[in-house]
């Protein structure tokens, strides 16, 4: 059980690292949004599922699953909101010129 948990958390940490380096590497706001929004959800979900597997099935795991549910709902909303904000502002600047 612990071995499977460590494999899951290792894959998740790999996704997290790739997301961070992609955010540093890309040159545009929307490319950075794609690197962050795709890799963060995968890494966060894998690490939290690995934590649930690691601690067995006790009564605190429902809190971890609630946190995972919350993050899986709020992360795409945040990504969409930042992208919409940047797009609207750039469009407005182009129209004023």
């Amino acid at each position: 059980m612990t071995f499977a948990a460590y494999i899951l958390m290792g894959i998740g940490v790999g996704f997290v690292f790739v997301g961070s380096l992609g955010m540093l590497r890309f040159r545009d706001t929307f490319s950075r949004l794609q690197a962050s929004g795709v890799a963060d959800n995968a890494g966060l979900g894998l690490v939290l599922i690995g934590l649930v597997v690691h601690s067995g099935w006790d009564r605190h795991d429902i809190t971890l699953l609630l946190l995972l549910f919350l993050m899986l709902i709020t992360n795409p909303i945040v990504t969409h909101s930042i992208a919409r904000s940047a797009f609207v502002q750039r469009h407005r600047e182009e129209r004023e010129q």
Binding site: M9, G10, V13, V16, F17, G19, S20, L21, M23, L24, T29, R32, L33, S36, D40, G43, L44, V47, L48, L51, H54, S55, H60, T63, L64, L66, L67, L70, M71, T74, N75, I77, V78, S81, I82, R84, S85, A86, V88, Q89, R92
Partner: protein, 84 residues
């Protein structure tokens, strides 16, 4: 568990660089959101490693507050705030 903590904290370094030199405000906002995600992850890892279930409630509160802050700042920038 200590190795995974350390790796997640090391992945905060490129995000802090982006937060420092980001060309536009949206890059900095995205870096803040990503850094708060990493911090929630570290709090969950510490909570499971030290068997203190109260830290998970701290993580949920932190996630909700950072979500509200990012949404509010994004709406503020969308309406042209901070420029005039």
């Amino acid at each position: 568990m200590g190795v995974i903590d350390t790796l997640v904290l090391c992945s905060l370094v490129p995000i802090l660089i982006l937060l420092w030199r980001g060309p536009t405000a949206w890059d900095r906002l995205l870096a803040y959101n990503t850094a708060s995600n990493r911090i929630v992850l570290v709090v969950c890892l510490v909570a499971v490693a030290s068997r203190q279930a109260i830290y998970l409630d701290v993580a949920i509160g932190y996630a909700a507050l950072s979500f509200l802050g990012v949404i509010i700042v994004a709406r503020f920038l969308e309406r042209g705030g901070g420029q005039r």
